[in-house]
Amino acid sequence: MLVSFSLESMGNSSNSQTSLGTAGDEAEKENSICRKKSSLWPLRNCDYYKTEFESCNAYKSKVFQRFVYGHTQDCSKWKDYYESCLKFETSKDEEDVANLLEAERERREEWMEGSKANDVWEYRDKPPEEWEQPWDRAEHENRHFTSFFKEYREQCRAPVSKDGKPSNQTKLTPDVIQKGPKITRIL
């Protein structure tokens, strides 16, 4: 069960849109009326914490941790999170999961801090203009070769633009990436 974060608790979150929008609205309503001031609504699959614990404890990853950090990491926290996640599934009590929620919040903050602390360059407001400029593939493509990308595009759904007319370019949205077309051989 995946549900989005409630925006009140996150404070200064730049992303106002959530990919899982409906569940977030419900959680917000519940939070405002029925629940205490809650923080995150936990909802990852608990297996996530289990796999993190297992991959933390594996021999190869211990070597990798030494390689990167110089010391091995303490893996007990992942086990705690896994157990509290399981408890929450049965009891639905927020106190069980308080440590989980704090950890997720901190992780998200760290993630954002890492990119904000990088002041080497100036961040853009808009994407670069040359990204969408067309590029004539037929000019540059060698006549000997056929394009596999063309098959992939022809068999993908072409997204409909704002005008209502189908656009020439298929964009790699998450749906297309996950489903993908069924490609058959032409030769």
Binding site: F5, N15, R44, A117, E122, R143, S147, K150, Y152, T173
Partner: protein, 267 residues
Amino acid sequence: MAKKADSDAELEELRRHVVGDMTTSTPEVADQHVRSKAPYVNPVFFNVTKTWAPATVMIWTSWHRRCEKEIVRCVREDPLIKTVLTAMEKKGCPVDLLRHVVCENCHYPGILTRDYGFFDREINQIYLCANQVQNKQIRHVFLRELIVAYDHCRAKIDVTSVTQEACTEVRAANLSGECTSLRKMWKSYPLTTLGKINGMHKECVRKRAVDALQKSFSGKPRRELRAAVDQVFERCYNDLDPLGRRPRRGSAADAANAYTDSQFMNH
């Protein structure tokens, strides 16, 4: 579809077109990666098509098609590449494979050296050398160039400044899993891998960033590039957008968890 030479004179012209006029230019600006001005035509294939093999043989055995097929497989199946692609889409740069990714045959840069590919900033395209990159390597090269493209998408990178290029190279080496395989470390630091493994990831990233910078800024001495990398290293090493972690090569669970992280954090 195949271009056949009708006479010997045309053959000679084509050969001259391929072999002759191979002057290398050294511009002062970064991105000295040059697209192959003359297309690289493998002489074996050429002779085969001239004598008896039909065009279908060239297409079946072409590096071009194999390279593109592998990229499509990565886009569909590999979670780290999917995270970067969704992150780029959210920043406003959706990746269209026909427009932004190109597999072409490149001329070999030297004996026992390989040029895998680069990100072209003028055209905004990922350029892969299909005749020099193996299927197993395409995933790593593609991820690396996607990170460079992601940086280009979200920040204004000055092409003439060494420090900003150094930052992208550090991040690309850090996040694309280049420094995670012990075999590679053995190749570059043969004796130190036995004695000292702790904290060598940073050294590996530094070295690879400087090597990559040398290709872009071939005129500058290595000291200068090394100094630029050191100046910029801490900030860029800890910037883990868009993956959120340093992925460990060979663990599918790590990659899958990175994908779920990016979706959950809505990043």
